[in-house]
Amino acid sequence: MDAPLVSAAAGGDLDAFEMLVRRHQSRIYNFVLRMTDSPEDAAEVTQDVFVAAFRRLKTFRGKAKFSTWLGAIAVNLSRNRLVKNRRRMANETPSLDAPVVTADGEFCRGTVSEEPSALERLESQALRRVVRDCVARLPIEFREVVVLRELQELAYDEIADMLSLRAGTVKSRLSRAREAVKQCLQRAMGKLQ
């Protein structure tokens, strides 16, 4: 479905390229957003991804899906941005040890709650913030597989192609990444129900 547009765009058809942009920009933007945890960086890097793709369009051989090829560019440029902003991200990531303020008052993390459900006591918005922070605190290589699998719903082999990894490495890395998120959530919210 992308192949005709890619072929036309490679021949200089900018309208065809714009259609590719509209088709893939949301996915690329959200991937970069989850990686950088910054809407500003996500917007800039998304632009860079498509400009880079336009420059390299003639090198795309069509052996992989265009979305996979585009995603690989997004992975590399996201990594570059993360390295560049490493200090800023460390300063801005909120501490998961700080109490979570809810409508019912303060909830101290780390306590084992005997109430029917700790999750039910939290605002969904606050819960999403915690989950987002837990993902954002993952090491880069764990964060990539979690975002591509859970949020982009890519198959293991597609993730392997995009990250230039073996499928077995994707499997083990995803297992460890999920375990890390689970432990992070448990620390943040007490016992998960």
Binding site: Q25, N30, F54
Partner: protein, 314 residues
């Protein structure tokens, strides 16, 4: 399957990424193990929480901004190389001008910081070599040590120097005639002027090599050796001592011969060790040199030392 093995496979299990045989084994274990079942539940809950993160809408105008950059890229691509290099003029030209100025300044600075090549300082041209003589002070010092004045007074005893003498204080009559013509450097050896002074040349000067001969010769290799005579009690044992001093001074023995009872040693010695070598020779006997000093630009000198048993003569 033990608990640890199973929990490592739970992530792939919930994604359906395990082999059928493994899947059966996992499900059998989960039926009987509450702890592993709880671990599975926790993992599935975690995955659900992450999946629940909402997809964000890209900001307005993102597509337009992307396409603006892409169109600029496409337009730039169609331009000739020089256009891409210099346009837009008001941006690229000042940057490139500053870069060019910076390169020129840095190049000049680095060039000025480069040390002078010492080899160039030590290696004068053949023309400069022709006119170069040792300094007056060196020549006079050597004269006092080696008795060059006596040598000159008894100049008839020895053949004229094969190459030029220095210009010490008193000029002998035959050397006065060899004053270099006007325009030549004052320190030039009398013998260098030999060819220029025509019929005024003395016998001593006539035997000196002509200017054209000197100009043609290589600086270090083809110049005749310095002549030195050492009057000792026993030339044989003196030769052994001379060789010992020669080695200490970093020199080497090139040739040994015997002539009319005299032992003649031809040696090569670095210029830097020449003075100390002379001092050592003076301790062995009386030294008489035909050449009192050397051109400073030589790195090595060849000496022809005649060890003679003749007693000291006044």
């Amino acid at each position: 399957m033990n608990h640890r093995n199973l929990r490592e496979k739970l992530s792939a299990y919930i994604d359906g990424e395990v082999a059928d045989s493994e899947k059966e084994a996992i499900e059998r274990h989960l039926q009987v193990c509450d702890a592993c079942r709880a671990a599975l539940d926790a993992l599935q809950h975690t995955v659900r929480q992450v999946k629940a993160l909402e997809e964000q809408t890209p900001p307005d105008g993102l597509t337009r901004r992307i396409m603006d950059r892409v169109r600029a890229e496409a337009a730039d691509r169609g331009q000739p190389f020089w256009h891409r290099l210099f346009y837009p003029l008001h941006i690229k030209l000042p940057i490139e001008a500053v870069a060019m100025v910076f390169l020129v300044v840095m190049g000049a600075y680095l060039y000025r910081q480069m040390p002078d090549d010492p080899r160039l300082a030590q290696m004068p041209s053949a023309v400069e070599q022709k006119f170069e003589t040792p300094s007056m002070a060196d020549a006079e010092g050597e004269s006092r040590r080696t008795g060059i004045a006596e040598e000159r007074r008894s100049g008839a005893e020895h053949p004229a120097a094969e190459y030029r003498a220095v210009k010490p204080a008193p000029a002998l009559p035959e050397q006065k005639a060899q004053e270099p013509p006007a325009g030549r450097p004052a320190e030039s050896s009398p013998s260098f002027a030999v060819d220029e002074s025509g019929p005024q040349r003395s016998a001593a000067a006539r035997s000196a090599p002509s200017e054209s001969t000197v100009l043609k010769k290589d600086l270090d290799a083809d110049l005749p050796p310095l002549q030195m005579t050492l009057e000792v009690g026993d030339p044989g044992s003196a030769a052994v001592a001379v060789e010992k001093h020669l080695k200490k001074a970093g020199g080497k023995l090139l040739h040994t011969e015997t002539q009319s009872g005299d032992t003649i040693l031809t040696v090569s010695i670095p210029y830097a060790g020449l003075d100390s070598f002379r001092t050592r020779l003076a301790e062995l006997g009386r030294v008489r040199e035909k050449e009192a000093a050397l051109a400073e630009n030589r790195t090595e000198s060849v000496l022809r030392i005649t060890l003679t048993a003749q007693p000291f003569s006044e």
